[in-house]
């Protein structure tokens, strides 16, 4: 058995496919590629696939990471050439590597995530900057999600308008924590900024993991 780590971009066609469904999308992609996926034991065998840091529905990403296990010996290049023709619209392969079987689970390794946000409606640049600064200077940003009260402020690491941001196409740089149990949601930040998350195109552009030597 071998463990592979794949870096990929999630583009428009899979924007509204959630994490659970992405699991199926990958399983079927591997099946089309005729790669022998490792399945869990038991009555309902599940394909062994692990995604890092779930991406909220409706977001695009340039930096998704997935681990999968194959019941065969193959080089990353061989896996890549089997996968390429089997990929569905909405996935662009960036990189494949082999990783040790005992490497820690991806879900436990997330540290932070960087998002670029394009607002679909024009917005005055000074006002956008002011709101970002207000947000950052707040001691706490109490918010409620699914009937649970939490503080959004400590989850925000960086927030400012991107240099190329204009009044016509306002853009934000947003870095949020992405640790297990402490993951910020970009739509929540937009709400805290008084902006409508459904009038925004959000893309995850970087994922940072805890550096650990195996």
């Amino acid at each position: 058995m071998n463990r592979f780590r794949i870096h990929y971009a999630k583009t428009e066609a899979l924007r509204y496919t959630g994490n659970l469904d992405m699991q199926k999308v990958w399983e079927r992609t591997l099946r089309r590629a005729r790669l022998p996926i490792a399945y869990s034991q038991g009555f309902h065998p599940q394909a062994r696939l692990q995604q890092a840091c779930p991406l909220p529905l409706g977001l695009l990403s340039r930096c998704e990471v997935l681990d999968f296990w194959l019941e065969c010996d193959a080089t990353p290049e061989e896996v890549r050439s089997a996968l390429e023709p089997a990929l569905p619209p909405g996935i662009t392969l960036l990189q494949i590597e082999t990783i040790p079987l005992n490497a820690p689970a991806l879900q436990t390794q997330g540290e932070s995530a960087l998002y670029h946000i394009l607002l679909l409606d024009p917005f005055p640049p000074e006002e956008l900057l002011r709101r970002c600064q207000d947000c950052l200077s707040a001691i706490s940003l109490p918010r409620q999600r699914r009937d649970k009260q939490y503080d959004l402020r400590p989850l925000i690491l960086e927030l400012f308008p991107l240099p190329q941001s204009t009044a016509q196409a306002p853009r934000l740089h947003l870095r949020l924590t992405a640790r297990e149990g402490a993951t910020g949601r970009p739509d929540e930040v937009l709400l805290a900024l008084g902006l409508d998350p459904s009038a925004a195109r959000i893309e995850r552009v970087e994922l940072h993991f805890r550096e650990e030597t195996p």
Binding site: L20, V25, R28, R34, P88, P89, G90, P197
Partner: protein, 634 residues
């Protein structure tokens, strides 16, 4: 004027984050076919009038989608209904219904093909036309609008939807589909009028153009006669059949979100020779044609390669009757693939079925389903499904002892002349079955009885009989609920109000179109969804039109009555259906017609087709030279 594809896309981006399961509205799945809109002369929208989750796995549309897109001169794109949350946004933001592939407004297509597999999609169909910005009634549309075509099992009685559909395709679409597109392209090249197009279509065998016929009624509401308004319209439209099933589709669209069936579906056989008298599919899908084992196996292999699906369904009306079923099951179970789940529904009640299922059993297993439909010998003779109780019990023993813990039994209440004793027998039979289970498996044994209510269908031997009243149904269901209690027993049933809806729509006439339209205006839609079904909207619609639902549901029809659907011929003669109805009344059964021909009418109707395709292609036994040959109406 309708919105452009780009404008629709831009407006959608702001709505999608606010609706449930936005993945329903974006397309872009593996195996979707997208062509250059500007470069293709004939553009067809294929619609399933329910949400994506239900419509995507529909095999009929998959066949048409692949066949149309295989032509270089045609593009076919998919359209489904939005769920209620999305509908509200579309209306509020004035976004017309659009195709998933290129987001073009439905109104911009040349042809809108709608599949109508069952009647409870009728109000959805009106909603679909309305969301597309099209006038509901065919008479109010012209050459500026797409040609609206409907087909599918419900189209065998086209009359309730006759006001809204320009042309119905009766029977199998595989061949006639191409003829329709050819007629359309020729007409479009000449920039003809809508009536000219309809006249050309009327000349195609299998096409019913409702505007070329006018029904006349007697004072009490029965059909007096059906007047033909155009010489090109045939007196009776005979369904289309393909002589030989073409290779099945393999490039299934792989949904990127969860839908009702996520699998490769292969139709192994079309039609059924058993002749169960309640069964619409059994009478309208004759003759029986099978696909060869090798073709099925190679289709599955290709489809698995193209989709990556982990499940295969082998579909037919009666799998056990497939000639080489053992060979097929062996070949399919030998197909390579990790953790493949293979389903084989519609098995006969015999222990051989258990052996078949055992060969197919993958790592996962659910319950084992059988459909005895009735529990007394008398009832089984009436419906012509003669199975022995002892055989059912023996099969149940085999199922429980080979590792299945749950048996699912399908029954129907409301068969003609059914008494409370016949219904009580259903409960008793279930108790006998669970007793076998408990003897073998102890408390782990389970039995699930699915009890639906019989609705008389057009073109069957029971098209004359009344449907049970709501009170009768309630009494029977109450009896079963009282009797079917105990450990391991579970029962599900259909609400009588939903049965009534299906009953009046199934045998409705053209006047019922007003009721459907008013019910939709009163808020009825998604009638097949328990949580959306709105009986009040229908009741009000009947009151508004002055029509009586009981006239359609509970009336015993006369043997010489002209039915609204008599203008359609499924190839089976009405006199044969009547003969079968008489047989049912004297509890006379008829065996499998693979063994012996009972002259239902299929062979004379399609005699030239049969002559060109002799031998075992059709499962009809050889009957010698037909005396008189009636050609299919040109």
């Amino acid at each position: 004027m309708s919105l452009s594809a780009t404008e629709i896309q831009a407006r959608l981006e702001r709505i999608l984050p606010r609706v449930a399961k936005p993945g329903r509205y974006v397309g872009g799945e593996q195996n979707q076919v997208t062509k250059d809109w500007e470069a293709i002369p004939t553009r067809v929208a294929l619609a399933f009038p329910d949400i994506y989750d239900i419509g995507l796995p529909n095999l009929g549309l998959a066949i048409l989608y692949q066949a149309l897109n295989a032509r270089p001169d045609v593009l076919a794109e998919r359209v489904y209904l939005p769920w209620v949350d999305m509908e509200a946004f579309l209306r509020q933001e004035r976004i017309p219904l659009f195709s998933l592939e290129t987001r073009h407004a439905v109104a911009d297509f040349d042809i809108l093909g709608i599949t109508l597999p069952y009647e409870t999609l009728y109000t959805n169909t009106l909603n679909l036309l309305d969301l597309a910005g099209l006038p509901l009634r065919s008479a109010e549309r012209d050459e500026r609008h797409p040609l609206v075509i409907a087909g599918g099992h419900a189209a065998y009685n086209p009359e309730p939807m006759a006001n809204f559909i320009d042309a119905f395709v009766i029977g199998e679409g595989e061949e006639v589909l191409h003829e329709i597109v050819d007629v359309y392209s020729e007409w479009k090249a000449q920039s003809g009028s809508r009536p000219a197009l309809l006249r050309s279509l009327a000349r195609l065998p299998g096409l019913y153009i409702p505007s070329f016929y006018t029904p006349h009624y007697t004072a009490d509401g029965r059909i007096e006669r059906i007047e033909r308004l155009h010489p090109d319209a045939p007196a009776q439209v005979t369904k289309r059949v393909v002589a030989q099933l073409p290779p099945p589709p393999t490039r299934f669209i792989v949904p990127s979100i969860e839908v009702v069936h996520n699998r490769v579906s292969v139709e192994i056989m079309r039609g059924c020779t058993r002749g169960c008298r309640f069964c619409h599919a059994g009478f309208v899908n004759r003759p029986v044609r099978e696909r060869p084992v090798s073709q099925i196996v190679s289709a599955i292999e290709t489809a698995l390669q193209q989709t990556g699906f982990e499940e295969i369904a082998l579909l037919s009306l009666s799998s056990s009757d497939y000639t080489n079923i053992l060979e097929l099951v062996d070949a399919v179970s030998a197909i390579e693939g990790q953790h493949l789940v293979i389903s084989l529904p519609s098995l006969r009640i015999e222990s051989f079925s258990v052996e078949l299922m055992e060969k197919l059993r993958g790592a996962r297993q659910g319950g084992f389903t059988l459909a005895p439909e009735a529990a007394t010998e008398r009832m089984r003779q009436i419906i012509n499904k003669p199975i022995q109780t002892e055989q059912l019990l023996e099969t149940a023993r085999a199922i429980y002892s080979r590792g299945w813990q749950t048996i699912k039994l399908y029954f129907m209440i409301g068969h003609p002349s059914e008494t409370l004793e016949d219904v009580r027998a259903i409960a008793n039979l279930c108790k006998q079955v669970i007793a076998e289970g408990r003897r073998i498996l102890g408390h782990r044994a389970a039995l699930h009885a699915g009890v639906s209510t019989f609705v008389p269908k057009p073109h069957t031997p029971f098209q004359w009989v009344p449907c049970d009243t709501t009170e009768q149904i309630q009494a029977k269901q109450q009896l079963l609920r009282n009797e079917l209690r105990g450990p391991g027993l579970k029962m599900t049933w259909t609400s009588p109000a939903e049965t009534m809806l299906e009953a009046w729509l199934s045998r409705g006439d053209r006047r019922l179109g007003q009721v459907i339209e008013l019910a939709w205006r009163n808020g009825a839609r998604f009638d097949a969804w328990q949580d959306q079904f709105n009986p009040h909207a229908w009741q009000t619609a009947f009151e508004q039109t002055g029509l009586d639902p009981d006239f359609y549901t509970h009336r015993m029809r006369g043997e010489d009555e002209i039915f609204p659907w008599d203008v359609i011929s499924p190839g089976v003669r009405k006199s044969y259906l009547l003969e079968e109805y008489h047989n049912s009344q004297c509890q006379q059964t008829r065996p499998d017609c693979r063994e012996q021909c009972f002259a239902c009418g299929i062979l004379p109707t399609f005699s030239s087709l049969r002559r060109a395709n002799p031998g075992p292609l059709w499962k009809c036994p050889e009957v010698g030279t037909p005396r008189a040959t009636t050609e299919v109406q040109p």
